[in-house]
Point group: C2
Chain length 338, copies 2
């Protein structure tokens, strides 16, 4: 591993001091254009690469941002990350993506690592296991939550109104004549799922439709588990005429379970997903979904974080994004026969 070029090498070659070279490379106003030119030219020629460790150590800013999410394979996360990186990248910030895999201990461990790297800020989405926030409390760094946000309103939070979003989705199903709606909730204790269930309940109450608590179905985010849980429930509750799923990926398994139960979508059972993922229009039947602007939410999270880093005092602590229903084939109302 050949010795790296440093600003000392450049300084020596040009008969300058490291301080001057540093200022030149950082385009400081105090340095003459001619010196800057010479320094930049030689830096390029020697293929000089700055050492972020060193500059970060001294300046306490390394232009790195931590992103902590449950799983990059989730559509919301990869999409939000794209939005985050678009904003942050334009300002010269780099991101360090960490996955908790829904585990609290991974979350704590990743957090420690991000602290030890001394990232300039953090954008986080809570794991399914996270119930208390001790590990976030005294982080002492700019922090923005996204999607899976805590209740604590001292934090800046970017999210949707999960209750309202589910309310709209379930209302749509009820209005198309469905009465027995299964809620594919995901793992036990997931906050966003509980909020959505509240919207589910409210829509039922307003429509004066009775709620069967057994239609709230929990499962692990593990291929096959949602399928089997739903198949079993359909067997036990043959009156089910709609399924509302926590995300589109899971809704695909729901479509399969319904098909294998000998029922058809949307004639017998309507299906509504969540997130409006890019594959959903191409499924059969095409999947209706509650859409949330994940990319834009990522952008906003990044903008808020930049504000925090620059020390601006932020007006609002909570940014609630709008959701809307995307109607497709899987929730077409059933025509009255005859």
């Amino acid at each position: 591993m050949a010795q790296k070029v440093t600003i000392y090498d450049i300084a020596k070659a040009l008969d300058l001091t490291p301080a001057t070279v540093s200022r030149a490379l950082n385009d400081s106003y105090e340095i003459s254009e001619s010196t800057k030119e010479k320094v930049r030219a030689l830096a390029r020629q020697l293929n000089y690469q700055p050492n972020r460790m060193a500059s970060g150590l001294r300046s306490k800013r390394n232009k790195m941002i931590g992103i902590l999410v449950p799983n990059i394979a989730y559509h919301f996360n990869s999409s939000a990350i794209a939005g985050i990186e678009e904003v942050l990248g334009a300002q010269g910030y780099r991101t360090i993506i960490c996955q908790t895999h829904e585990k609290l201990d991974r979350e704590i461990e990743n957090l420690k690592d991000l602290v030890s790297i001394r990232v300039d800020g953090l954008i986080a989405s809570l794991s399914a296991e996270t119930l208390q926030l001790d590990h976030f409390q005294d982080l002492q760094m700019p922090l923005v939550f996204i999607d899976r946000v805590p209740i604590d309103d001292r934090f800046i939070r970017i999210h949707i109104d999960n209750e309202d979003a589910a309310y709209k989705g379930v209302q749509h199903l009820l209005q198309s004549g469905r009465k027995h709606i299964a809620w594919l909730a995901g793992p036990e204790g997931l906050d966003i799922a509980e909020r959505r269930y509240r919207g589910y309940c409210r829509a039922h109450q307003e429509a004066e439709t009775s709620i069967d608590p057994q239609l709230k179905i929990h499962f692990h985010f593990k291929p096959g588990d949602p399928y089997h849980r739903l198949r079993q429930t359909i067997q036990e509750k043959p009156a089910i005429d709609a399924v509302f799923s926590i995300n589109d990926r899971i809704a695909i398994e729901a479509l399969a379970a319904i098909r294998d139960a000998g029922k058809s979508v949307p004639q017998d059972i309507a299906v509504m997903g969540f997130n409006n993922e890019s594959i959903s229009p191409w499924l059969y039947p095409s999947l209706s979904s509650v859409s949330q602007p994940s990319f834009e939410m990522g952008r906003e999270a990044a903008l808020q974080l930049l504000g925090l880093i620059k020390g601006q005092k932020m007006q609002s602590r909570s940014f609630v994004f709008e959701t809307h229903i995307v109607e497709r084939g899987s929730t077409l109302p059933v025509l009255v026969k005859g």
Copy 2:
């Protein structure tokens, strides 16, 4: 931002020197157990978090590994990353994930950043635009390529035999009686796709089936484009009786295009995907796919990189993983009618 605790604080409090504290925290054999205990206890109590900037600057090792992939939303990548992180995490290494979004300039930029962070090593998968490797040539750090690997055999490469994998997939289609197989190739110039096309051709030649070059279909990895390209091709070439897709995500669009063209799968047209993604068993019809062990490949990439970092001389430069066909409904052979 409260002042961070340093080893100086711990040293002062315990009437030791920073050197001793450093050694104690790193579990050095030269430090007595009793001192280690005291240091660790106080470190925990003060919530000491080591500064990787500083230790990395001095020791030239920061236990960080760069991962450079086209897109984390691709199934292969998120899955391989999980494998990489499993191996590296156990050794105390952290990963910094960068996305090129298939752009050469993003690749070069990300590479510079990873160099400036002085990561201990790099695992990379080439962007679709990457034709030459100048930016990788003089990186001067342990480097392993995965999936989208260069031809250059001076690099360690983790990959499958793309030609052979496609050969097997196409052979399977030909043997089930298909004769006009469209190849959904992805963007122009993608190396793995070209290799797979060679396998496609070889399978045709061995089966003495003629090849129609117009059945090689290029498109962008952008929702809708594969669908429209395939619909158009089906219209122009009504004899198409099979579709082989570069990945399962794209195959979903193919299923939609075929359906909307009034044909059915697998009766009129068989569909074979690639990667055997987790949703594929639940599609309708369930999707046959060429499976590659992405998680294991990620693990192997990490193991090889660790070997390089530890200075072991690696025997083999190329690790070729086995693929196999997963047969599902979308390629069922058509029963002879009557």
